[in-house]
Amino acid sequence: MSLVNFTTREITCKIVYYGPGRSGKTTNLHYIYGRVPDSRRGRMVSLATQTDRTLFFDFLPIDLGQISGFATRFQLYTVPGQVYYNATRRLVLQGADGVVFVGDSQARQLDENLESLQNLQSNLLEHGVDVRTVPVVMQYNKQDLPRELILTPAELDDALNFRGVPSFSADALHGQGVFETLKAISELVLKRLAAGSTA
């Protein structure tokens, strides 16, 4: 993970949006894409099926410009959520500096959330990375759905967030919570990067 390159004076952060299928990872990226000025964003690469399911992965590079003399870039990735694309997921996860776990707030999707979370853990382990050492934030998406269908952020925290990482309720379609999530993961990643560079 070459995050900070002092010779070329670049900071590059790779952030992966992880989560079960149809939880709204690509929606997150789309919302961000729509809010980033043209000059700042690269081309969003999205390999989707005809029904708009992510087939391979989404990729959105964002150029944050010069920060303290460093050309700072964020690379946002999503993984395909469906269980059978695990090889792709593992590949995308490689070299991730931070992970946003996008959970589906619907009560009936709780098992998928748990399964995906376990999958994240095992995939990271395959890369020899302990999930406890990687910056992770939780996003409970679809909080705009009717109350009776969804679990509250508190309930989801109880069910999923057993490490007590920062969590955000979101409505990715309308943008609620999207940038908060991105900001939180960026801060975690950058802080870790700072700690790593002085070590």
Partner: protein, 655 residues
């Protein structure tokens, strides 16, 4: 009417950053060369960015560099008031004269010239007059000359004719530097990140930044707990995103047409920048801050700038500390050199921490030139100085001088023939004077003094040479009569003389005769020599000779028999030095003959040599002259030179 300069507003307290570097440099230049660099200097900036501070700093600096300068600082309003008052009193001309005579005129807030035609005319006249006389004008305003409404075209062109510089809003790093400096000045300590948080807020000017600092200081003082970055954010009312917001507001904002979208990104960007600035780039900020600080003080910062290019930020603080250490060393050297040779202190080398070694060498060179002047010789102690009636006056004068140098007899001149111990006494006084705290005693022969001056002239470092002697607290010159004919040295001595007398510093000289009988000395020096005490050292009396002899003998590790002492003390000598010669001769002869030194032997050696090849017995001379070993025969007159050979034999037989 004229405001006084606020003593706090100096260049030292002005934090220099990218936004104001040009203005500060221009200001410094103007302060160093008023009237010749940029005239007029026009500084403009928004409120609270340091115009007044800079203006006063120029005043302070110019005053410090040239105290005789007449510097006027006033705001335009004060100028206008003064003008009106003067006109009302019918003193318009006096008013004009007053301002035409200032060497540097510093006018604050000239934007208020708007709609004041008569003041504009007045200022135009004044500007022209001052410029023609080569006097400096510095003006400040909150906008460039051309944007001051209703300003006379001629004034605009005048103002723009010099240098127009602006002070921008400070960047993040400068804001941090300012906050740290001010917090330090107030003795306030904050947790890491607090000041950075405050600096992260883009206040439009420094005054508001200070307000933020005040709030933090006050909050911390009231609560008696160290606040953290989070609390600081609350205290300063900085919006803290990152906490889950209610979804209803989100819905509303989205419904409003997605306008906040772009803001969301810039907000994100700001946050990331702050995070990076705070955490990742903390060391860089420290380096940048150090660069700004030392660059502002005029030091080369290449080393620190190189640090910024490095890959690994390891040991940054040590590097900065080492740099500061070097700068401190340079400062010390510069101060030291400045005291000795102000011209040399201006060398660039004292501003470049990369060349500390060179600076050391340069300082050493200067120091060498101004090394302590020659000190008295340790061989001549006061205890070893033989006292007697003949040098009583000189000795008591010497003691008085040692007790109160510069106060009683100044200058003190010892006169006497050669070999009477003038040099000894001179050095002895020097040694005693050196025992006093902080004393630098220059004690040398006049010839040495002349030689040094010649070498200094040769090496083009007469200033150093002078400085060297001027630092001395006492000047002791041996054989002042040797100055005869050395006009340049006499002149230098004359100047030194006056400085020493003015400073109540002791001067002691020796001369073979009364100063007014010496030839070749300038009248002004002679009269000054005579102005102190001239103490004569006479020919050594018998008592003194005896004392001196005892001392000489003990120095030679010879036994001082009374008979030997008496004999030697009675020898017709005219100086202590020849006494030493006598003893030396006797001692050498005794050693050569492998005999103890005795009065008899001394007599034998000093009064006549035995014929070669003669036999010798103790106490007798084979030449036939009978000499008691107790020294019974003392004068040549009583000696029988041609002893009958028969009697000679007879005595031999009798034995």
């Amino acid at each position: 009417m004229t405001s006084t300069l606020n003593p706090k507003f100096t260049f030292e307290t002005f934090v220099v950053g990218a936004a104001n570097r040009l203005a500060v440099t221009a200001g410094r230049t103007v302060a160093e060369n008023p009237g010749s660099a940029y005239n007029p200097l026009f500084i403009y900036s928004g409120s609270g960015l340091g115009k007044t501070h800079l203006l006063m700093a120029i005043g302070h600096s110019a005053k410090a560099l040239a105290p005789q300068l007449n510097i006027e600082y006033l705001t335009l309003d004060e100028y206008v008031e003064a003008f009106h008052a003067a006109i009302a009193a019918g003193q318009g001309d006096a008013f004009r004269r007053r301002f035409q005579n200032v060497d540097a005129l510093l006018v604050d807030d000239v934007q208020f010239l708007t709609n004041r035609k008569e003041m504009q005319a007045e200022l135009l006249r004044l500007t022209e007059a001052l410029q023609q006389a080569g006097h400096q004008i510095v003006l400040t305003s909150d906008r460039p000359p051309a944007e001051i409404a209703d300003l006379d075209e001629r004034l605009i062109s005048r103002f723009s004719g010099g240098l127009v510089v602006d002070i921008g809003t400070p960047d993040y790093e400068t804001r941090v530097a300012i906050l740290r400096r001010k917090a330090e000045e107030r003795g306030a300590r904050f947790q890491p990140g607090v000041l950075e948080t405050a600096a992260g807020v883009e206040f439009p000017n420094v005054r508001e930044l200070m307000g933020a600092l005040n709030r933090l200081v006050a909050y911390q003082a009231v609560n008696e707990t160290a606040i953290n970055a989070e609390t600081a954010r609350q205290v300063l009312g900085v919006a803290d995103a990152g906490v889950t917001a209610a979804s209803s507001t989100a819905g509303a904002s989205t419904a409003a047409g997605g306008a906040p979208g772009a803001d969301e990104f810039s907000q994100f960007l700001t946050d990331v920048t702050t995070t990076v600035g705070k955490a990742v780039e903390a060391w860089r900020a420290r380096v940048a801050e150090a660069v700004l600080r030392w660059e502002g003080q005029g030091y080369r910062t290449v080393r620190l700038e190189k640090l910024l290019d490095q890959d690994t930020p390891a040991a940054v603080d040590e590097e900065i500390a080492a740099y500061i250490h070097d700068v401190e060393r340079l400062k010390a050297l510069e101060a030291e050199v400045g005291a000795l040779d102000p011209q040399a202190a201006g060398e660039k080398v004292f501003r470049d921490p990369e060349r500390v070694a060179e600076a050391e060498a340069a300082a050493a060179k200067v120091r060498d030139g101004a090394a302590p002047p020659p000190a008295p010789s340790g061989a001549f102690s006061l205890d070893a100085y033989a006292a007697g009636a003949s040098n009583d006056v000189a000795l008591s004068a010497a003691r008085a001088v040692i007790d109160a140098p510069g106060k009683k007899y100044n200058p003190l001149v010892f006169v006497g023939k050669s070999g009477l111990g003038k040099t000894h006494l001179l050095n002895a006084i020097g040694l005693e004077l050196m025992k006093k705290k902080g004393a630098i005693v220059a004690c040398l022969s006049t010839l040495g003094f002349v030689d040094e001056l010649i070498a200094a002239i040769d090496g083009n470092r007469v200033d150093w040479w002078r400085a060297r002697y001027r630092r001395a607290t006492a000047l002791l010159l041996d054989d002042i009569h040797l100055l005869a004919g050395k006009d340049r040295t006499q002149e230098e001595l004359f100047n030194l003389f006056n400085q020493f007398l003015d400073g109540d510093r002791q001067l002691i000289f020796t001369a073979p005769a009364h100063p007014n009988t010496l030839h070749g000395l300038e009248e002004r020096i002679v009269s000054r020599l005579e102005g102190g005490l001239v103490a004569e050292i006479g020919d050594p009396d018998r008592e003194l000779r005896r004392t001196a002899l005892e001392r000489i003998l003990s120095q030679q590790k010879l036994r001082a028999e009374p008979a030997l002492l008496d004999y030697l003390a009675d020898r017709p000598i005219d100086s202590v030095r020849s006494l030493t010669g006598l003893v030396q001769r006797v001692a050498d002869a005794a050693a050569a003959q492998d005999q103890p030194v005795s009065a008899g032997l001394a007599r034998e050696i000093l009064e006549g040599q035995p014929p070669a090849g003669a036999r010798r017995t103790t106490g007798f001379r084979t030449s036939g002259l009978v000499v008691s070993s107790a020294g019974g025969v003392r004068s040549r007159e009583k000696m029988v030179w041609d002893w009958p050979s028969a009697a000679d034999r007879l005595i031999e037989d009798l034995r």
